[in-house]
């Protein structure tokens, strides 16, 4: 029996995995998309299908996130519109590169290695952040303050200069470069790229932090929509996989978001960091399985990715349940915003 073109086992797996990814997204505000492509690669989907389906999933989660916030927050729409061209060209470039690698028969290998490095890097960042004893707050005291690097970049007058919503000016080349660079990463890896886009808007283009966050979410909508359209034209998006993932993640995101009311993020961040390091190892084992043809590595890879995700989800739910039982917090809402 097949539902959405998937066996019942695969359907349950994708809904369950989507739920876990949704809990991470709702709880940490990130972590959604960069687990989906690796999972599909480990399950044997060709790289273009894995990336294209992940991009469509990113689009769905971006719509849900936008609806949840009622609007996309403090957005510089002019900046978003200016970035659109760069994002579109970047995603198309990423997609073309993936298909070029696919023709060479190297797409799974190159994308897999890129994910090993990406997940390891983010895992190290999260683990280090969790272990940092001082708990320093990186947010500026003045909400309108922009970083020194951005001030330096903005000081170079490279025409055409565009006026941003806050009245400051930025070169169209910087804006297009940021859009194109983030789009390239998104299109190549099938990720929303918020963890790259938000810092890039803040540190390179130079807008206040709150505007960078809102404009980045707006950028996720653009990236997801353009990516889904671009890969959709190639006919590589598995709609059944995307639907199953969204069914799970939309529920998981609500529960993850509600858990933020009860659970201190710092209690769980280290587990998330370790999970990302294990996910990196899982993709590496998947690659080793491809090179050696030894099926046991595939099993290890699958168990590592799903097992570590399930463990961290369980930890978040356990902490949440414990706090509810203790009656430590009486939430005014069950959809606590990050």
């Amino acid at each position: 029996m097949a539902v959405l073109g998937l066996s019942v086992e695969l359907l349950a797996l994708f809904v369950g995995f989507g739920f876990m990814v949704g809990v991470f997204f709702g709880f940490f505000g990130m972590g959604g998309s960069f687990l989906v492509t690796p999972a599909l690669l480990i399950l044997g989907y060709p790289a273009p299908v894995a990336i294209g389906s992940s991009m469509a999933f990113v689009f769905g989660t971006a719509i849900i996130a936008t609806m949840k916030h009622a609007d996309v927050g403090n957005v510089d729409y002019r900046l978003g519109a200016l970035m659109f061209v760069g994002i579109t060209l970047g995603i198309e470039g990423g997609r073309l590169f993936v298909f070029f690698l696919e023709e060479l028969g190297r797409a799974e290998l190159v994308v897999g290695v890129a994910y090993v490095l990406l997940l390891a890097a983010i895992g190290v960042l999260f683990t280090r952040s969790a272990l940092r004893a001082d708990g320093a707050d990186d947010e500026p005291d003045d909400p309108d303050e922009i970083p020194e690097l951005a001030k330096t970049i903005k000081s170079y007058d490279v025409p055409p200069m565009m006026t941003l919503a806050d009245g400051s000016k930025a070169s169209l080349w910087t804006i297009s470069g940021v859009g194109g660079g983030v789009g390239l990463v998104s299109g190549f890896l099938g990720i929303g790229g918020g963890f790259v886009r938000m810092p890039a808007i803040y540190y390179l283009i130079g807008v206040p932090l709150a505007v960078a966050v809102g404009t980045s979410l707006f950028g996720a909508l653009i990236s997801g929509g353009v990516g889904a359209f671009s890969y959709g034209r190639s006919g590589v998006i598995d709609v059944g996989v995307v639907t199953a993932l969204l069914v799970g993640s939309a529920l998981g995101a609500r529960i993850g978001s509600a858990a933020t009311v009860y659970v201190d993020e710092s209690d769980v961040t280290i587990y998330f960091g370790i999970m990302l390091l294990l996910a990196s190892a899982a993709v590496a084992f998947g690659e080793i399985a491809n090179w050696t043809g030894i099926a046991a590595f595939d099993t290890v890879s699958f168990v590592l990715l799903i097992g570590s995700s399930a463990l961290v989800t369980t930890i978040i739910l356990y902490y949440g349940t414990k706090e509810i039982r203790a009656g430590a917090v009486t939430p005014t809402t069950t959809t606590g915003e990050k």
Binding site: L4, G5, A56, F59, G60, T61, I63, I64, M67, K68, G225, A228, F229, S230, Y231, G232, R233, S234, G235, I237, V239, G240, V242, T243, L246, V247, A250, L251, R254, A258, T321, I324, R325, G327, T334, T335
Partner: protein, 50 residues
């Protein structure tokens, strides 16, 4: 729906995927929102009493 998408031109196929994902996301967000309002309080209460 999937088979209809498969036989369309690439652009129509891509637009259909984008439209389908949009509708799915809206329906899921709305549906789970209703479920949360209806079942959320009783789930919290059950956990508190467990």
């Amino acid at each position: 729906m999937v088979s209809v998408i498969e036989f369309a031109s690439p652009t129509v196929q891509a637009l259909a995927v984008v439209a389908l994902v949009t509708v799915e996301a809206i329906v899921l967000y709305t549906g789970y929102g209703v479920l949360e309002r209806l079942a959320g309080p009783s789930v919290i209460e059950r956990i508190e009493k467990a």
